[in-house]
C-alpha cells in the first residue's frame, strides 16, 4: 500500500517551491533595477533635419528645445492627464546656395512611436505654405493612450511641405506617466500574467505528477483535483449487496 504524503507536507512543499521560483525569478528579473541607470544613458541617434533644402528649424516642448531630449536619459516627462505646448519655427538659412528653391512649409506634425509604429499623429496645417514662420501646437497630450500605455516613447516633430515632403524632422524622448504610475491597462495585464506564470512554475512538479497520473503512470496527488475516471462504473453486484429496505405492507391491508 502506497504511503500518501500528508496534506500539510504537500502544501509546505508547494510553498517552498513557490518561494524558490519567486526568489529565482527576482534574481533573474533584478536587472530591472540596475537597468535604470545604463538604459537612461544609452545614446540614441537623432534624426536631424532632413535638410535637403537647408531649412533651419527647431521645435520647443513647453519652451525647451526638443534637441535637449535626444536621449532616453534626458526624456521629457508628461504626467497623467497633462498636456504640453509644442512650438515650431522655421526660416530659410542665410547664404543659401543658389539654385535650390526655398522650402515652403504648411504642416507641423508630431508623432508618437511604439515598436517603430506611429501610435498617434497630430497635425497643424496652414492654409498656404510659408518659407518662414511658426506654428503652435497647443495642449498636446497622449489622449486615450495614457489609459493603455506608459513609459518611454520616441516622438518625432516634423515640418512638411505642401506636397507632403518632410522638410525637417527631429526625434526626441518622452516619459509618459500613468495614473499612480502603474494604472495603465498594459502594465496591469503584464503584472497579472507574470504572477500567473510564476504560480505555474511554482506548481510545475505537481502538475507534472497530475498529468502522469492521468496518463496512468502513477497515483494522483491526494489534494489534487481528481482526474476524470476511466474505470467502469461500479458493478451492479455492489448495489445488489446493499441491504434493501423492507417492503412495508400496505396500510390497512389487514383483511378481516
Amino acid at each position: 500500500m502506497a504511503v500518501v504524503a500528508p496534506r500539510t507536507g504537500v502544501r509546505r512543499g508547494n510553498i517552498l517551491a513557490a518561494a524558490l521560483a519567486v526568489s529565482l525569478a527576482l534574481m533573474v528579473l533584478s536587472p530591472v533595477t540596475t537597468l535604470a541607470s545604463p538604459a537612461r544613458t544609452f545614446s540614441v541617434s537623432v534624426r536631424t533635419p532632413a535638410a535637403s533644402g537647408g531649412l533651419s528649424a527647431n521645435a520647443s516642448w513647453d519652451g525647451t528645445n526638443i534637441s535637449t531630449a535626444s536621449t532616453a536619459s534626458s526624456a521629457f516627462h508628461i504626467s497623467f492627464g497633462g498636456s504640453v505646448n509644442v512650438y515650431y519655427s522655421w526660416r530659410q538659412p542665410t547664404g543659401l546656395a543658389g539654385g535650390s528653391a526655398p522650402w515652403s512649409i504648411n504642416d507641423a506634425r508630431l508623432q508618437i512611436f511604439y515598436f517603430g509604429f506611429a501610435l498617434g499623429t497630430r497635425d497643424i496645417t496652414l492654409s498656404a505654405g510659408q518659407t518662414s514662420g511658426n506654428i503652435s501646437m497647443s495642449n498636446w497630450n497622449t489622449g486615450p493612450l495614457e489609459y493603455v500605455l506608459e513609459g518611454l516613447f520616441l516622438l518625432t516633430a516634423s515640418l512638411l511641405a505642401p506636397n507632403g515632403t518632410t522638410a525637417w524632422s527631429q526625434s526626441f524622448w518622452v516619459d509618459v506617466a500613468a495614473a499612480f504610475y502603474v494604472l495603465a491597462a498594459l502594465p496591469i495585464v503584464l503584472l497579472l500574467l507574470g504572477v500567473y506564470e510564476l504560480y505555474s512554475i511554482a506548481t510545475v512538479g505537481k502538475q507534472q505528477a497530475l498529468k502522469r497520473a492521468k496518463s496512468g503512470g502513477g497515483k494522483a496527488p491526494e489534494n489534487a483535483e481528481p482526474a476524470p475516471s476511466t474505470s467502469p462504473p461500479p458493478a451492479s453486484s455492489e448495489t445488489a449487496d446493499a441491504p434493501t429496505a423492507p417492503s412495508t405492507p400496505p396500510e390497512g391491508g389487514g383483511s378481516t
Binding site: 512543499g13 517603430g116 500574467l193 506564470e197 512554475i201 510545475v204 502513477g218
Partner: protein, 76 residues
Amino acid sequence: MSATSSGVGCGVVLGIVFVLLAQQFGYLALNPLVTAFVYILIAAVIGGVIFGVIGWALGRRYESKHPELSAPTPPA
C-alpha cells in the same frame, strides 16, 4: 508536457513580460522595431533556458518527495 517544457514555456512568457514591463516603467526604450525584437528575443531565450532548468529541478524535487506519484502502478 513535462516539467521542463512547462518551465521553458513559462520562462519565454516571463522574458517577454519582463521586457515589456521594463519599457512600461521607463527603464527600456523599445521604439526602433529591430531593437525591440532583439530585446524580446534575447529575454525570451534567457527566460526559457533559466526557467526550463527551474522547472526541471522542481519536477525532480517533487518526484523525489512524492515517489509514489511517479512510480508505475503494479499490474493487477
